[in-house]
């Protein structure tokens, strides 16, 4: 038992591990059942936004409701694209580079941002996001400005001796696997951090920064760290998106996109790690299902949001938690409490 892993007993952890493994295997087998390019595209987008939303959650649990997150995605996307396009660097290198540059900007913006808290933080973060997008417009020469950036190289094909070459242009399936692996990797890191001493310090600051600093937690330091981690993965998600979509426009990283990410997190529920995953999945896939409604489709999106707000105060994941608590309490009463 280490910090952040207090409650669950060994047995339940085992069930959890099996459940996650099963889910991941299912996701790996998915392309066997789905061959529609359109569906695969939807899944890929869901994966990309899942990374972004989960990394936003990392910032959120430290008590910082950021409205700039899409801008950091964009930062990663543009840096990666420009290096790959202008200098012919391989995307395998430029994608992490995109993450790092988003992180650097996040840290630079982060120090002044620690001067403000709560609602003030949210509003100032909004300006930071807007300034980043405006910056993309200023460097029109490299970013393509409002016309957009085209000709971004796709992921290069991979040759492993003894296996057929994986060509990312052949179909959506290689991309699907790439993003699935990337998502699993990023989420494992974010999950590990959240359930460590660092994650506990983040949550402690969010609950009471006064108490936190009285026990020696460096409020500013941990808040910047949360921004660094969150922005890094936003940059990675954005960079991945750039080499998948191969076209970028800066408007897709503006205020509304940041707000969208926030909606994913809030609708999913802020109480659990799975909130943003559930929120992103529901809010990307369900509206896609109702695409045939054409101009009426946004009502589905808005409708889900209102439904959640009125009937699920803790978000969709909160609903699961409620059911789970009921179920677990029922079990606990049956068996004597273990003293650990």
């Amino acid at each position: 038992m280490v910090a952040g892993e207090h409650a669950p007993s060994g047995g339940r952890n085992w069930i959890k591990t099996v459940a996650y493994a099963g889910l991941i295997i299912l996701l790996f087998l998915l392309p066997l059942f789905v061959d529609s390019v359109y569906y695969l595209h939807t899944f890929i987008i869901t994966l990309i936004y899942t990374i972004a939303a989960c990394s936003l959650r990392t910032i959120l649990i430290s008590g910082q409701l950021s409205i700039a997150h899409a801008a950091f995605m964009g930062l990663g996307a543009y840096v990666s694209s420009i290096f790959a396009r202008e200098l012919n660097w391989t995307p395998w290198l430029t994608i992490p580079l995109g993450g790092v540059s988003a992180m650097v900007v996040g840290v630079l913006a982060g120090y002044p941002l620690t001067r403000v808290r709560a609602i003030y933080f949210s509003m100032v973060s909004l300006f930071v996001g807007l300034a980043i997008v405006a910056l993309m417009g200023v460097f029109q020469k490299y970013t393509g400005g409002d016309i957009g950036l085209i000709g971004i190289p796709p992921l290069p094909s991979i040759t492993i001796p003894g296996l057929p070459t994986i060509n990312f242009l052949s179909s959506k399936i290689p991309y699907y696997y790439f993003f699935l692996l990337l998502t699993v990797f990023c989420l494992m890191i974010l999950h590990s951090l959240e359930n460590s001493r660092i994650g506990m310090s983040w949550k402690a600051i969010a609950q009471s920064y006064l108490v936190a600093s009285s026990v020696g937690i460096n409020e500013a330091g941990f808040r910047v760290l949360a921004l660094a981690v969150g922005c890094f993965f936003a940059g990675i998600a954005g960079a991945g998106y750039a080499h998948y979509n191969m076209v970028l426009t800066r408007s897709s990283f503006g205020f509304l996109s940041s707000v969208n990410l926030l909606i994913y997190v809030l609708v999913g529920g802020t109480g659990s790690f799975f909130g943003p995953i559930i929120g992103t999945t529901v809010l990307v896939i369900v509206p896609e299902i109702f695409r045939w409604l054409k101009t009426f489709a946004p009502f589905v999106f808005g409708g889900i949001m209102l439904l959640v707000v009125f009937f699920m105060p803790q978000g969709i994941a909160g609903l699961f938690e409620q059911v789970k608590t009921k179920f677990l309490h029922f079990q606990e009463r049956k068996k004597p409490r273990d003293v650990s």
Binding site: F127, A131, V138, L256, L306
Partner: protein, 287 residues
Amino acid sequence: MISDVAAQTVVNVLMLSSIYILVALGFALLLTVLGILNFAHAAIYMVGGYICYQLAVVVGINQWASLLISMIAVGLLGLFLERVFFRPFLKDMNRIVVVTLALIIILQATINVTVGSYIRRIPSFVPGVLRFSGVSVSGDRLATFVIGGVLLLAVILFIRKTKTGLQMLAISQDSDGAALQGIKTHRIFAVTTAIGCALAAVAGSLMGAILSLSPFMGDIMLVKAIEIVILAGIGSIGGVLIGGLILGALDATLPLFISGSATDLTGLCIIIILLLIRPQGLFGREV
């Protein structure tokens, strides 16, 4: 010619500032009195513009009457929104954020479905160009400034001189303390929302005559409203006027000197630097 450009710039600054302030004032009132961040405020501004358009162009009544009806209708819409969507979530920031964002999507979709997403224009309120001793300015722009100025004066007088206005200020300073004085807080919340929405509707209608209407015109205006409130400092109603003027001046004059997206960046940098020096804004109370 120089004086012509100068005069037009002045009118542009005043016109843009009036519109900004009309929207930002309502946004600020909701923030300080109800304590909510109403992201849907600029969508309400857009709806106000479309109601005026429908009445003036499709139904074909006098556009001044359309403006008035739009103002009243959106005020009533505000009463409805406050009662159904804001009041249950006043103390819960996460949920109010989701509700108001959902309202943006729903209001935009509603306009898209009923009117369509093509760009519309409301006919001029004061057609043509007015000439004052060799200087010519657009009638609509001047009218916007006059209407904006009159409305703002009215609202400020209302807040400073009436009992309801005083109660609004009291709630914005201490809402529990206000309840203990026997102030009917929910009634004040409703009045505040109605006033805020009505002001936004006027701004939307005027904007429809000067530029054009689109279901997404609120997106930029929302950002402007937040910028002004931050610049002014949360809790300062008077600061909104100054903040609006500053932003209006930046937006109307920067393009004369700097081109393209650099104007946005310059404006944003000015605001960010200002906030780093004074996190509570120009006239805000302690953070």
